[in-house]
Symmetry: C2
Subunit: 198 residues, 2 copies
């Protein structure tokens, strides 16, 4: 019986993941989800008491995937290649979930406290990837200018990629190369002078 | 009687402006505001039917002030001096409204659609200041890399300054100089090669 519960929950989560990654929050209907799962709306609400709870669960699954994609770049790549590969993974992910990404970042659901915490969790993992896991880490951790600037660069990435999703005036390669170039300029600006000659 | 209405509305707006700029949204009480205005809560709701409506009105007034401060930098300053002065005005403004700024950008109220529209309006005016009103405008308008990057830089500014308000590890001059330097690096990266020699 326990297993059955878990399977039902996993099935609903998978359906929600698909629905919420293809469509904006407001365009997903609980009636449709229940119909797709071939269960009653009441039973669906037994597993996920509100649409928001189901959304947060689905979003958390998608966010975990994004973090895995961006952070599992081989560590032996050159820093610039790691950055490019991480950005490729990120751009691939948001392109695949385009409508959901725009809805999340621009729509009313984005600052629901639990949803905001999922987004903030992704930012923190991105930050760690570019700071803690960076080959420059030993020299840069604890440097407030550096830490603030990496945070700023994440803001740069979010703003440009939301704009790019809404109005794709650059190719994916162009936006990736732009973001990579900006990252390395930012790193150059905030790095101790010893790095500036590299 | 009409004038009296307008005066009452202006008085309430001024009280709301002060309350919402000193405290987070959830910490402002309509009871306190009505008491300060020496009117009943019912009469207050006659002018502003909900706390959110009053907040949006107060926020719009504060946002308009910010836009005026940032965009009224003398046009005859050198571009880097204009950027520094604009950032000084911005940093002065958010420092003065620190609790409200953090609540707005991080809290639940930030993505209420009307509130989000006020924030987006400020970003658009900032964008215009750095694009349309820029001395580089004739060469840069219509260049998508440039337009996207200015948008990205605004994201950089928002992320770093929220972080700075919460955890001020740099002085105001340091954060201003960092943001200015990043802006000019961004401009350099996206400018036609003719600018790169400047």
């Amino acid at each position: 019986m326990r297993l059955e519960n878990d399977q039902r929950r996993a099935q609903l989560l998978a359906l929600a993941r698909t629905a919420f990654s293809a469509r904006a929050y407001d365009d997903v209907s609980i009636d449709d989800l229940a119909r797709d799962a071939k269960i009653s709306k009441g039973l669906l609400y037994h597993y996920f008491p509100t649409k928001r709870v189901l959304y947060v669960a689905g979003l958390s699954a998608i966010a975990a995937e994004l973090v895995v994609a961006v952070t599992s770049i081989p560590a032996d790549l050159a820093p610039i290649e790691r950055a490019r590969a991480g950005l490729d993974a990120y751009l691939e992910h948001i392109t695949r979930h385009r409508a959901a990404f725009i809805s999340l970042m621009r729509g009313g659901i984005g600052s629901d406290p639990e949803v905001a915490e999922v987004i903030e969790g992704v930012r923190r993992r991105m930050f760690d990837t570019f700071v803690v896991d960076s080959p420059f880490a030993p020299l840069l951790i604890g440097n407030p200018k550096f830490e603030i600037s990496v945070r700023g660069w994440i803001g740069f990435v979010e703003f440009t990629t939301i704009d790019w999703c809404v109005n794709p005036r650059l190719s994916r390669a162009e936006i990736r190369d732009l973001l990579t170039e900006i990252l390395f300029e930012v790193l150059r600006v905030v790095s101790p002078p010893v790095f500036r000659t590299q």
